[in-house]
């Protein structure tokens, strides 16, 4: 999906790279992400996709190069809460129910208007499992419980690390639909995935990573 020329520039990377023990994890990257855009990060295993996302989220320090968020150098304080990161570890407490987990994150991040934990869980396909401890849910259901955060929390950039893992066919369609609504509403998303993404607004941008 190509952004309109007037779209706000959200994220800009120039010659971005990350070093681990003096060894570059990935080759320097240049890309821009505008509001309303979806970009797919592609690369083989170990090519640094997760590292890139963790760096963009602000968990890892910027190794070399420049990273700008809405025109200013990216700092945790000015983007906290506006960037939502969903990694391999889902950040769910096994002893709490999906509803309690969501209530907690909403308590820290705030929630979108006219969206509550119950409606987010219903929309993500967990109706009837709201009060079941997360550790008793299946892997796919856990993933859905984590994805419910996307619906509930206000954020303009989503960083999704393998959002399709463990999901069934309807789950994959659901993620695609989430991405579509998000970008249509002016949000942006960076997604790493091995599976095919069928994005309705046309072919998404690709960011190719090399080790």
């Amino acid at each position: 999906m190509t952004a309109t020329p007037t779209a706000v520039l959200l994220l800009e990377a120039q010659a971005l790279s990350f070093h681990r023990q003096d060894e570059a994890v990935f080759a320097p990257l240049d890309f821009q992400l505008h509001a309303g855009e979806l970009a797919l990060i592609e690369g083989d295993n170990g090519s640094g996709k997760t590292t890139l996302l963790r760096m963009l989220a602000g968990l890892l320090h910027v190794g070399a190069g420049e990273l700008r968020w809405r025109g200013a150098p990216l700092q945790r304080d000015n983007c906290a809460g506006d960037i939502l990161f969903l990694g391999h570890q889902l950040g769910l407490k096994g002893d709490l129910s999906p509803r309690e987990n969501l209530r907690f994150v909403a308590g820290l991040h705030g929630s979108r208007e006219s969206m509550g934990a119950a409606s987010a869980l219903a929309a993500i396909g967990l109706r009837g499992y709201e009060d079941e401890p997360v550790r008793r849910l299946s892997a796919g259901q856990k993933k859905r419980a984590a994805l419910a955060r996307l619906l509930l929390l206000p954020a303009s950039l989503w960083l999704l690390d393998e959002p399709y893992a463990n999901l069934d066919r309807t789950g994959i369609a659901l993620v695609n639909q989430l991405l579509e609504t998000h970008t249509a509403a002016g949000g942006a998303a960076l997604v790493t995935s091995h599976g095919a993404v069928s994005f309705h607004g046309g072919e998404p941008r690709h960011i190719r990573m090399h080790a």
């Binding site: 989220a57 602000g58 968990l59 890892l60 320090h61 945790r76 906290a80 809460g81 506006d82 960037i83 939502l84 990161f85 990694g87 391999h88 570890q89 889902l90 950040g91 769910l92 407490k93 096994g94 002893d95 709490l96 309690e100 209530r103 907690f104 994150v105 909403a106 308590g107 820290l108 991040h109 705030g110 401890p133 206000p154």
Partner: protein, 228 residues
């Protein structure tokens, strides 16, 4: 976008950790049982002689409570690191140090407070005079949060390492010795009818300082632990 205020975020954090602790009630009971068993064994080993027990009672209780707290210490952040909750907490639009302070408070409420509650019972088992019990409780109320805060910083520092339990115990030892000395000093002074306010004041002053600095250090240490 309307971000929740700091107060409601603190409440959410505290509520989550207390709920989690309540769901794992047996973990809370462990340190309490440990303290009960250790204190119960002393009279058996040393004989039920009043004067001897009275003399060592304060020290025994303080050491027992300290060791019992050590049992639950290294679990403070480990589950949050394992399931990714800590990553999400670091990325949340709330000051990390304050959120960690809430976690430490929840930890103190679930491990130290039960121990303080049973302290009068422990004191009775060792024939500690009833008049000294308030001083002992006061000393514990000041020294246990100190231990939780020191412990939290060290747990955060050793967060990335494997088998951090040993390292943690070794690093915590020199830090908790002063707290133990002052707490035991206050109890001993009270037992001899001497003024005990000085060591208690020292404990309180250290607690205030640590209360401010430890969460900040904890936040920095955890950020570094995740940044690798």
């Amino acid at each position: 976008m309307n971000r929740p205020g700091l107060l409601s975020a603190c409440k959410a954090m505290l509520q989550r950790d207390l709920t989690l602790a309540w769901r794992r009630r047996s973990d809370i009971a462990m340190p309490v049982l440990y303290a009960l068993i250790v204190t119960m064994l002393f009279p058996f080993a040393l004989g039920p002689e009043d004067t001897l027990l009275q003399r060592i009672a304060g020290g025994v209780i303080l050491v027992t409570v300290l060791l019992a707290m050590l049992l639950a210490l290294d679990a403070m952040f480990s589950s949050d690191i394992d399931d990714g909750s800590l990553e999400q907490l670091v990325l949340a639009p709330q000051p990390l140090a304050v959120m960690l302070a809430m976690k430490i408070l929840a930890h103190w409420l679930t491990t130290a407070l039960p121990l303080i509650v049973i302290t009068p019972l422990l004191a009775a088992m060792l024939h500690l005079p009833a008049s000294v019990i308030p001083v002992l409780l006061l000393a514990l109320l000041l020294s246990t949060p100190l231990l939780s805060l020191f412990g939290a910083v060290l747990v955060a520092l050793t967060a990335g390492t494997r088998r951090s339990g040993m390292l943690l115990a070794l690093m915590l030892l020199p830090l908790c010795v002063p707290a133990l000395i002052f707490a035991a000093g206050a109890v001993a002074a009270a037992q001899q009818g001497l003024p005990w306010i000085a060591p208690i004041s020292w404990l309180a002053a250290t607690l205030v300082l640590t209360l401010v600095l430890a969460p900040l250090a904890c936040a920095v240490a955890l950020r570094i632990a995740l940044d690798s």
